[in-house]
């Protein structure tokens, strides 16, 4: 079966699985998850170096260097556009990537994105030449506005970060996908393979996950499940499901009935 690869910002990706790198039990499991997931895009956060124990939190030293990845740093920790822009510039100065996931949370309890600040940061960073992938609310109009601001892909949340509540508003996600002219990546809130398949069947171009894999009982096994769910959902979307009907239709036509 021929698969069409996802392209974002002119870059063709090997996979529709965007994988977060936080909260794994240890670096060995993390590397196994990365391998099994076959993810191309890996996300990171930016924080101050702990000067007492500099190696402790650093992530890049743990990654296997024989594979090439697309690095997607995020602006987590930012609560407004200015902070997000500063973090984005720091990330770019690393020389690793000019991709940036704009993530601006104004509420500690829900970590829901601040839509106005997200749009503002997206506008600024696009002008500065970043490949911008904003994490945002699942609002169709807002997603369109981010696309118009020059986002390379738009990443609506299924539900709040780390909740595993799945896709709370599949209707909205369907509208977002239908109207989008840039890739739509469902980011945040997914809990299991079922949620992932649903996102892909609704037409999402990819999914971004961290907690549901890292905190699963067996993260490596879950990485495999999520990968297959992405493939299954995508194929199902491309194949085109049957419409839902109220009453039954026999699989074999009536003329073939033999018993009277």
């Amino acid at each position: 079966m021929k698969h069409k690869n996802l392209t974002i910002g002119g870059r063709e990706l090997r996979s529709r699985f965007f994988l977060g790198t936080g909260r794994y039990p240890n670096p060995y499991i993390q590397n196994e998850v990365i391998r099994v997931s076959e993810a191309d895009v890996l996300t990171f956060a930016i924080r101050r170096v702990n000067l007492e124990a500099p190696g402790e939190d650093a992530i890049l030293q743990h990654l296997e260097e024989d594979r090439k990845f697309t690095y997607l740093p995020n602006t987590s920790g930012a609560s407004n556009a200015d902070e997000a822009v500063r973090i984005a510039r720091l990330a770019k100065a690393s020389g690793l990537s000019d991709w940036i996931k704009v993530e601006i949370s104004a509420n500690e309890k829900t970590l829901l994105p601040d839509p106005l600040e997200t749009l503002k940061a997206t506008e600024t960073l696009v002008k500065e030449g970043f490949t911008v992938l904003p994490y945002t609310s699942d609002d169709p109009v807002l997603c369109k506005r981010l696309e118009e601001a020059g986002a390379a892909a738009v990443m609506p949340g299924g539900s709040p970060i780390g909740t595993g509540l799945g896709i709370l508003n599949p209707y909205n996600l369907g509208l977002i996908v239908e109207d989008a002219e840039v890739p739509i990546i469902v980011d945040a809130g997914l809990g299991s393979a079922m949620d992932v398949t649903q996102a892909m069947e609704l037409g999402a171009d990819g999914v971004l996950m961290n907690t549901p894999v890292a905190k699963a009982k067996d993260p490596v096994k879950m990485a495999g499940a999520m990968k297959m769910a992405i493939d299954a959902g995508r194929l199902s979307y491309e194949a085109g499901r049957i419409p839902k009907k109220k009453y039954a239709t026999a699989s074999s036509g009536l003329p073939s009935f033999v018993s009277y």
Binding site: A45, I46, R48, I59, L60, N74, L96, L208, N210
Partner: protein
């Protein structure tokens, strides 16, 4: 010389950003430096003089979604 590094005051002998990073035994290619609000490319560290009272931020990539 007194420098504020990541919000803490440190007494360090260093002429430029490269030497500050070396002072803390950091792996240069994992670190991004900002001096007095100015983000620096790694190639410019040697030429970026630090002075008494400079505010330096040293950041790195950590795990995240």
């Amino acid at each position: 010389m007194k420098l504020t590094v990541n919000g803490e005051e440190h007494d360090i002998t260093a002429r430029n950003v490269s030497e500050v990073v070396a002072h803390f035994n950091l792996e240069p290619k994992l670190v991004v430096a900002e001096v007095d609000g100015q983000i620096l490319d790694r190639a410019d560290w040697e030429d970026a003089a630090v002075k008494d009272g400079s505010k330096i931020e040293l950041v790195q990539f950590i795990g995240g979604g």
